[in-house]
Every structure is written in C-alpha cells, then in structure tokens.
Amino acid sequence: MMYDVVVVGGGPAGLAAASESSKLGLGTLLLDENPRLGGILPQCIHPGFGLHCLGEDLTGPEFAHRLIEEVRRSDVEVKTQAHVTSLAMRSDLVKEVTYASPQGTEAVQAKAVIYAAGARERHRFEVGIAGDRVAGIYTAGEAQAMMDLYGVMPGRRVVIVGSGDVGLIMARRFALEGAEVVGVVEMLPYPGGLARNLMILRDFDIPLYLSHKVTEVRGRGRVERVKVVRVDEELRETGEGFWMECDTLLISAGLVPRVKILRRAGAIIDPATGGPVVNDRLETTLPGVFAAGNSLIINDLVDYAVEQGRTAAKGAGEFVRGNGIPTRRWIRVRREGNVRFVVPHMLGGDRDVWLYTRVSRPVEDALVEVPEIGLRRKVPVLKPSEMLRLRIKAEVEGGRVTLVIK
C-alpha cells in the first residue's frame, strides 16, 4: 500500500500534521503505538494548553480531543497499537515504514514521512542517582500516568528531582491529592520551569533546593530516604549532604527526543537539540522525511508542537507534489553568543519561517539579533526554560544568517 504521507506518532504534532496533510489532499496514514490517540496529552489534566494557538485555556485531554476530532472528521486513516520499528529509504521518493501491531509485523510505503514520535524521559541512572534498586522510583510522567489515567497514588511522601515544568506540575498534583512533597531538588542555581508553574511552589509551600542534587537512594523493598548534596557552580558535590525521608522519588530531569528510528535510517542528529537536523520545511537530511514536535526539539508549549506538525505537513505536500523539494542553496543558520540551539538549521530564503531557539544560561536585558535581516529585539529576560520563537523574513541577503544573543 502506497500513501502520500505516513505520520509516525499520534500526539499533538502528529495529529496536527495528519489533519493538515489530509486538508492538502494527500492520502494520509497516521500510526500510533498506544491504544488511544493524543500522546502525552490525556495524562496532562492541568490547564494551560492552547493559550497561544487557540486563545483558550484548555486541559491536556480537552486539547487532545480537539485535535483528535479534527483527524476523525478528515480522510486520515488511523491505526493505533502500531509501533513503528523501522524506516527505510527505498529511494529518494519511496520510504517503507514497518510496524508491529496485534496483527503482526506489517509494512507500508509512503512518498513522505512525518516523524512525530515525541520524547522519552531521562531516568535515574542518567542523572547519577546511585543506591538501592527499590520500588517507589518513578519518572514524573510514569507517576502522572498512574495518577491521572489509572487513579493510583504512587506514594505519600515525595521528593522530586528537577524543577522543570513536569516536575512542578507533579509537585502540585501530589500536593492536591494530600501527599507531602518533601522538596524539589534542582541541580542548577536557578529554577527550570515556566513562571506560571513556579507559582505552584508558593501555593503549596513546597521547599525548593537550588544547587542541590540527589545522589543516593536507600530503602529495603521501598524507598525510605534519599541523600541530598549541595553542588558548586561546576556542579561538583560539596560537603556531606543530608538525608530526606520519603517513600517516593520522582525523576523529572528533562526529555530526550526519540530519534532511534531516524538515526538508524541515516538522518543526521544535532547534538545540541538531540533531534534531527532540518531545513525550514522541517525536512530532515533524509529527503521527504520530516520531523515535528518533541522528536524535533523539546518544546515547552504544545502550541509549538502543533505548529511544527502543520509546517511539516506543508513541506510534505510540497515534496509529494514536486517529487522532492526543489534543489536550492540552503543557508546555514549560524549561532553566536548565548545560543544553545536554533531550529531549523537550514533556510531556503524563499519564505518567512519561525526560528525556535533557547539560550544556554539565563540573561537579563538580552539583545537578540539577526544582523543579515536587520532583526534586532530587546527581551527583558531570557531563560533556558523558555523557548524563544522568532519570525524570520524571507529576504536573506548575502547567503548567510546568524542568530546572536547577548
């Protein structure tokens, strides 16, 4: 079976990509490994979704519902419980997507693929937490699924590692359900979450330990206590540390784009984002394979994932209609100063595009510049936790673009 577009992943980016692709008249198949669509959204029961792209404040399940309804009303063919195991380039114009499903292993062919498989959470061994292998250690997302999909409390006394948005949201969830959040432990000297989520700590009187890390878990059968040590500016442990009594340890140490399938297929991965290198159509270095959502870059707003899904679908449409994106001289986006990453990596110079970027460290009175196009903007505060999105005009002169943040 040959489709115009196969979308891998039915979260916000994949759902948006699939309905946009169908709207463009492309024969579209959407594959998702879970029995239900929506990706991580169904378990994100807090509000704050869609503020930018819908102008409404929805919870995760409500936002997912909108996207799913849009797909259901379209001609998109949906297959759930289909776990994609490989992507192969048969030629520049034909890709084969293989997936495992309750019916067995199956394969479909497509002219274009939109890869939106999301991200995975970092686990305890990636953040250097040694000690006993006991029950009661969860990633924040696992605990969220237990509570909000299955109605099960993971524990009563919780220590949370990491002050990113997911960690803070789970701190509130536990506090709301009457559990004690003993503390949120953050390795860096500044908190990681959005301002609206940092309010949670004040609302529920939850102690935040900046420049501290959890180094060890102790317990018999179940977590009983964790060791917390202060770190210096180079993140080296200092002093003896102290113990926190708890029965649950939550790891909220960031997300990593899921790109194994893309990497195996030969796509070039950017070490700065952990996602693929893409051009302004969000096409990876594999012709006709596009990426969107958290497998492209870790987004802090669902709105951006949706936007990327739509951009990727438009790119896929261009690819399918033109038998490839017309060859052009791609302009490399260079970064200078306090820029951790910038996506897309390459611009065609023939359209306005969104640049997504993050700084490496917090900065006040930041100056954001793209000298080649005369863009110059002052931003009061820039934090690594808040992605900056910049509109870049098509006319790029001199064949180079540099993003400078000072």
């Binding site: 169904p42 029961i45 807090h46 509000p47 404040d57 929805l58 919870t59 399940p61 409500e62 519902h65 509570m147 909000d148 999909l149 299955y150 109605g151 709301l176 359900e177 009457g178 959005l194 301002a195 609206r196 940092l198 309010m199 609302d203 009061p380 505060v381 808040e386």
Partner: protein, 127 residues
C-alpha cells in the same frame, strides 16, 4: 504597608510586578506591561484563585477514572476542602467531555466539568 513582588504569569514575558497594599487596599501597582497583567497582580494579592483539576472514580467504565476541572477559578483557601470532597465522588459511565459532573460543589460558584470521555463497558445479558 506591604509590597508584594510577583512574576506575572499571563504571558511568557514574565514581568516582575510589585503590588503595594495597605490594609485591604491596593495603593500602587508597578512593573506590569499590560492591563491584564495589572488586574491579575491585584487579584493575586487580594483574593488569589485557581482552577483545580483532578480525576474522579468511574463506575462501569472502560477506564477507571475521568479527568475533571473546575470551570472557573476558585478561592485558593477552598482548594483542600474541594479536593477532599472530590475524592469521595464516583460517577457512572458513560461520561462525555464537557459534561457537568457536579453543580456548585460545597456551595462554590463553580461547576465540576469532565475534561475527558469514558465509554461504558458493554454489559452482557444474563443467560
């Protein structure tokens, strides 16, 4: 006189807003860059409110719980009481998104609304 220092959460600009309060009256608001931010800061100081979300038990459903929220923010000091009440609730499947589960719980102005749907399990007839 007390000065409250807040980080505005209305948009990602994250303005640092200061609210000067004397008794129960706001004397001055500084640092905001839009009227929504100003209003938010005043309310946050005088009568903070939050939207509350949780899940409640479902009987006879394909899933064990359904997610719910208050359809408007409630006073912060009533949150704990509302959560204890919601923990005792059980609703019958099917439930569809947007359905009002409870009107005015504990005399609050808000409604408890389902934010997800849960289908009922098909019941088999007795032989």
């Amino acid at each position: 006189m007390t000065v409250y220092k807040l980080t505005c959460v209305i948009c990602p600009l994250s303005c640092s807003v200061e609210v000067e309060v004397e008794g129960n009256r706001v004397k001055d608001v500084r640092g905001f860059s839009c009227t929504r931010g100003k209003e938010w800061a005043v309310e946050e100081v005088l009568s903070p409110k939050r939207v509350v979300m949780t899940v409640i038990q479902v009987r006879g459903g394909k899933e064990p719980v359904v997610s719910v929220k208050t359809d408007s923010p409630i006073p912060k000091e009533r949150i704990r009481e509302l959560m204890s009440y919601l923990a005792t609730l059980e609703v019958e499947a099917p439930i569809s998104i947007g359905q009002v589960v409870v009107e005015h719980p504990l005399g609050l102005k808000t409604k408890i609304v389902a934010t997800g749907s849960v289908e009922a399990v098909e019941t088999r007839g007795h032989a």
